[in-house]
Symmetry: C2
Subunit: 218 residues, 2 copies
Amino acid sequence: MEIKVVKNILEANEVIASQNRTLFAEKGIYVLNLMGSPGAGKTTLLEKTIEHLKDRNRIAVIEGDIASSRDAERIADHAIPAVQINTGGACHLDGNMVRGGLKELNLDQIDLLIVENVGNLVCPAEFKIGENDKVMIISVTEGDDKPEKYPLMFQVSTVLLLNKIDLLPYLDFDMEKFQGDALKVNPKLEIMTLSCKTGEGLDSWLSWIKEKAGTKGS
Amino acid sequence: MEIKVVKNILEANEVIASQNRTLFAEKGIYVLNLMGSPGAGKTTLLEKTIEHLKDRNRIAVIEGDIASSRDAERIADHAIPAVQINTGGACHLDGNMVRGGLKELNLDQIDLLIVENVGNLVCPAEFKIGENDKVMIISVTEGDDKPEKYPLMFQVSTVLLLNKIDLLPYLDFDMEKFQGDALKVNPKLEIMTLSCKTGEGLDSWLSWIKEKAGTKGS
């Protein structure tokens, strides 16, 4: 019975997510759903991405958090529109929450919308929000055993960003095992290693998103 | 309507958790619910704790994971009973799952049961399993802004273990802010800083759990 409830919620969400997606397509907005554990580096990645792309793309951000508006404030400091959604306990964003957030944005003035999901390696993977691509970010400090233990997020993502590689010298992290296990779960996964702190590896990510997002007003 | 569903699930869980708790009390078992994000160091903490206490306490472990039996295998290597529960997608353990796991254990031969919850800083905090205490573990690599963003887990925990302090020299982590924010959310929270890797700070944790768990067969 509990399973049935979850299934109904998921089905209702699919409908709304698909409506969001139609709206984004009409407006010519490329939408990214950025997911990862607390502290994986989602907001820092966003800040770096915005700094590199803001003269090229009309960017907006929706921030999903259980509580606080700290992340939206960090983003707004970069002079782009940022909407904070507080889920009030829910462990993920869903289509309906994102739809609510869209009301705060002028969709005719955006070509790249990045949605930073609630920090969680599990639940966000289950709920579409109308995105074009899901991108997951994970820090090397989280350990090399994560693909095996949290397979769904690896399965649904287009890109896996492995962050904080500047900390590798201080950790026992088996890169070959991690990447092999991730590809076992999702053979199409595009894996990029980077450090948002030092900037190493950021270029590949920026090339990828530039190709996806097109150019300002195009 | 969605909120109502969640409420019913939570209420049903309270009933089962309370039955588990009665059973644990009858059997004289002290039960710990260990929670934290993926990669915070839950299993490593468990391994260190087992090594220090296994001549003193009759320990058993229940491992909660979305998938894989990797953690239970790590624990079983220490020659104590370990049960793996795979939640098959669910982002937390609940009272009923733990009850199922108990069938695999001889409760007359245990005085300390540690339940390692699914790696998640959000959902496990909502579901009681019949534990005496909730302990949360968080790594300094997750950032100093977590109490403000994920308040519930800080609110419901008795002890906060701040792990991986050996990495502090390589991070921007404001210890005063983190501890201040955590205590703002939960003024009774007992905060211990440690490194499971180097062993620094482990003594305070071991003293705490020794006092809680009593001694073998007592």
